[in-house]
């Protein structure tokens, strides 16, 4: 059930468009004056929200792949992860340029003294290191170390949700949602959970074979 070359191109285009739409909508809202009278706050919040959303989508790919058997979706993982880094970078730049206007003295103080900002900055540093080493060359050069390094995405997702949680004043609903989603996606990687998911898939496959046998279609390949 691998995708054809043409299908792959179409699917990648769809991912690009979907991932850039939030940025385009934000630019549109800014241009049209649809943001609040404090647009810098809105831009900060929205880019941060999309960073966490795309990080969650990246983390969801492996469990979804195991659950559905659609192994080909893994080819979009790097792209979506890079888009998470893209929104994270917009988020950081909004803070540095629009909010603080390069006041590096107070920026360094913030990073050093305020856990909420320390954690956010650490998240971005992890995403930066993953983005830089996401090329084929670096995968080859780092070998086994690459896998270990890229487990850093789990740390980034956890730190990113903590950053969000510490950043809100009283309404913790959204940060808690993100924490819940990330927790589920990380738990799905535990061997015990994977075994359970494996048996679900096996049952579904045998059910699928019965159906396809009835229809006399081609047998499913694993």
């Amino acid at each position: 059930m691998a995708l054809s070359r043409k299908q792959r191109v179409v699917a990648k285009t769809v991912v690009w468009i979907a991932a850039l739409t939030p940025a385009a909508l934000l630019a549109w809202d800014f241009w049209r004056g649809n943001l609040s009278v404090n647009p810098i706050e809105d831009i900060t919040n929205r880019t941060g929200w999309w960073t966490l959303t795309l990080l969650s989508v990246t983390l969801a790919i492996t469990p979804v792949r195991r659950l559905t058997g659609r192994h080909d979706i893994v080819r979009f993982r790097r792209l979506i992860g890079l888009f998470a880094f893209f929104y994270g970078t917009l988020h950081l730049l909004t803070y540095i340029v629009l909010d603080r206007y390069f006041a590096f003295g107070t920026l360094l103080e913030d990073i050093a003294e305020r856990p909420f900002i320390t954690v956010g900055f650490a998240t971005w540093l992890i995403l930066l290191s993953l983005a830089l080493t996401s090329t084929r060359g670096w995968i080859r050069r780092l070998g086994k170390k690459w896998r270990r390094l890229h487990r850093g995405v789990y740390v980034a997702a956890v730190l990113g949700t903590i950053h969000f949680y510490w950043g809100v004043k009283a309404d913790t609903r959204e940060p808690l949602w993100f924490m819940g989603i990330v927790a589920v996606l990380l738990l799905a990687r535990l061997p015990a959970v994977r075994r359970m998911a494996g048996s679900v898939r096996a049952r579904r496959r045998s059910a699928g074979e019965r159906v396809s046998a009835g229809r006399r279609s081609e047998p499913l390949t694993p």
Binding site: V37, N38, L98, R100, Y101, R114, A170, D171
Partner: protein
């Protein structure tokens, strides 16, 4: 700071609306709610109906919704430091009023469910004359004035706003607190029907704020009924709110239903929720950071570069003496 005073005879036409007019306003509001405009147009509708009392011709005198009153040239008005006013739009669309949602633009969208008339205010506790006032009776003896104040939010943004109201000290004199009254406690309406944000426990409802007696009696401390010469829009805390310009904005409790004079320091909402982040005094202080962010600078809404935050929000020469001898760390 007293920019303009209104004679008592001015008040009757613009501020005290006869009952027949509220009734008109209700039906007008209900009608406009049905076509989904009430949230955005409520202030304008109010004005339209106030005017209809004079002209008896509501339909033809509907003004542009959500704009300042025309009797004052607001564009030339400045704070005592020469700062320009924030726009009526900024003041009425960017609000922290969790009773209508936690987003800044939620109150302007959701506050149409609040009914600021009829409204009653209970004055109780250590006073010679405890009473429950009808809003109209509560306001009839006062002289309303316009005052331009800076509003500094604890979240490090600020605005310059022309409030309309009167000194809280005037009320305190009227109700005659006893010698036991050392603090004043203010309570917001608690009614999830009118305030949908109260259906979730984001904060312990109702919202409670308080002042020490000398702070409450300070001539800068204001009970506010209007902004930009209009009655307060619901999202700004209609029909009556507190403004204490040298303190962070959360001290400015909105939609007040109870004013209680007490012996002991009241437990105030944010100090209950996060005692390590918000204190009772909450005086604006650039030296004392919020645990999660610096208070040294602020963004004036409408400006790009941040401003230095002023001690006591720029009112130090008038209020600092009240805190002489107190540990400044307790005053944040």
């Amino acid at each position: 700071m007293l920019i303009r005073k209104h004679g008592t005879h001015d008040i009757r036409s613009s501020e005290i609306t006869p009952e027949s007019v509220f009734v008109n306003r209700r039906t007008f509001l209900e009608r406009s709610t049905r076509i989904g405009l009430a949230a955005a147009f409520a202030p304008g509708v109010l004005a339209a109906c106030d005017r209809s009392a004079n002209t008896a011709n509501a339909a033809s005198s509907v003004p542009v919704p959500g704009e300042p009153s025309q009797d004052v040239d607001w564009s030339r008005m400045r704070s005592e430091l020469g700062e320009e006013l924030n726009s009526y739009e900024a003041v009425t669309t960017y609000n922290n009023f969790y009773e209508f949602g936690t987003g800044k633009e939620d109150p302007a969208r959701n506050a149409h469910t609040l009914e600021p008339r009829p409204w009653s205010i209970a004055v109780e506790g250590e006073v010679a004359k405890p009473a429950v006032y009808d809003l109209e009776d509560f306001l009839s003896p006062v002289r309303l004035e316009d005052r331009v104040y800076r509003l500094r939010c604890v979240e490090a943004w600020s605005m310059v706003i022309p409030w309309r109201g009167f000194a809280l000290a005037d009320l305190i004199r009227r109700v005659e607190p006893t010698g036991n009254a050392r603090f004043v406690e203010f309570t917001t309406l608690n009614d999830p029907e009118q305030m949908p944000g109260q259906r979730r426990n984001v904060l312990p409802w109702p919202y409670v704020e308080g002042l020490r007696m000398d702070e409450a009696n300070h001539p800068l401390t204001m009970l506010v009924t209007g902004v930009y010469g209009r009655e307060l829009p619901n999202q700004n805390g209609a029909p009556l709110r507190l403004i204490v310009p040298w303190k962070y904005g959360f001290k400015g409790v909105k939609s007040i239903v109870k004013i209680r004079f007490v012996r002991d320091m009241p437990a105030t909402t944010w100090a209950i929720v996060a005692p390590d982040e918000y204190g009772f005094y909450a005086n604006v202080n650039p030296e004392v950071d919020h645990p999660r962010w610096s208070q040294a600078t602020e963004r004036r809404i409408g400006e790009f570069r941040r401003r230095e935050t002023l001690p006591f929000n720029g009112y130090g020469n008038q209020v600092a003496s009240m805190y002489a001898g107190m540990d400044p760390r307790t005053l944040y």
